[in-house]
Symmetry: C2
Subunit: 168 residues, 2 copies
């Protein structure tokens, strides 16, 4: 199989999976493209490789920078900006976990904390059920939070491997 072909498949799949989360397909595709290339690419090159408009590429490159998944590069004597992926898998995972936490955990945790602090009026047994739910969810989310902290502290597969082996 030609390398180019393999890269394209990788980009397609990463894009599809990304959009199954809430990540825009183009953003995921651009990320995949940059991951697949050791060197940084320019906006033009990205546009060319995955057939996206200038605006789209510009916006999504910025977003990838915000996520901490890629960074700008300047080549000596060139004015053009190049974009290079962060290639350390654990770093990538860390960034993605953090971004998803922001969107998927924090809002619900904030609400739960608020609800816990509130005295409910209503049928006591219904109130009881609801408070139980709020408490259990909050506990659960705190646990997940702690787990993600642990994960984020790990630096590579090797450490993780031991950790898993130890528990399994």
């Amino acid at each position: 199989m030609k390398l180019e072909q393999a890269k394209m498949e990788f980009i397609q799949t990463w894009g599809a999976v990304g959009s199954a989360w809430g990540i825009p397909r183009s953003m995921a595709q651009i990320h995949a493209l940059l991951l697949a290339n050791a060197e940084g690419l320019s906006t033009e090159e990205v546009m060319e490789e995955i057939k996206l408009s200038r605006g789209n590429v510009n916006i999504n490159l910025r977003e990838l920078i915000n996520w901490g998944l890629i960074s700008k590069q300047n080549k000596l004597g060139e004015r053009k900006e190049y974009f290079k992926a962060n290639h350390h898998i654990w770093e990538i995972a860390k960034r993605i976990i953090e971004e998803r936490k922001k969107r998927e955990f924090v809002p619900i945790q904030n609400l739960l904390r608020e609800l816990k602090a509130t005295k409910m009026e209503g049928n006591p047994s219904d109130v009881g059920h609801f408070n139980k739910l709020v408490n259990e969810l909050d506990d659960f989310l705190s646990q997940m939070d702690q787990l993600s902290e642990l994960l984020v502290k790990m630096k590579d597969n090797r450490f993780f491997n031991q950790f898993i082996k130890f528990l399994g």
Copy 2:
């Protein structure tokens, strides 16, 4: 605060967070509503409480059943079907993890496995970089898979708590 009001806030937030993943807002809202009620509700009641059309409620109730997050209930002497949430947090988490794995891990893992098995043609250093990426990603995803298996095996917060305390 009135219980009803609190439930509504919970439903709203759960819906918003859900749609920040790939989960349809209505599906997440219906789930939240059923979680918040100890007893099962009928299609009519769900429609009434969160102002959704019959079709929408029907489809999303079915999807929640597919996810294993709710189940049908029949009340003695009544023809109507009632829908009741699974209220065990760890069960809920397990189902969600499994569904998300299907959508977010399996497709990329399949591709990676395929790519690993393929001999690439191209510039050796580019091929090297790409193969390294494929291998590292595959390793990483396997690890996450193992972690999720572990999580799913835990039955409640208490066990998880010890586990976390031990590691932290």
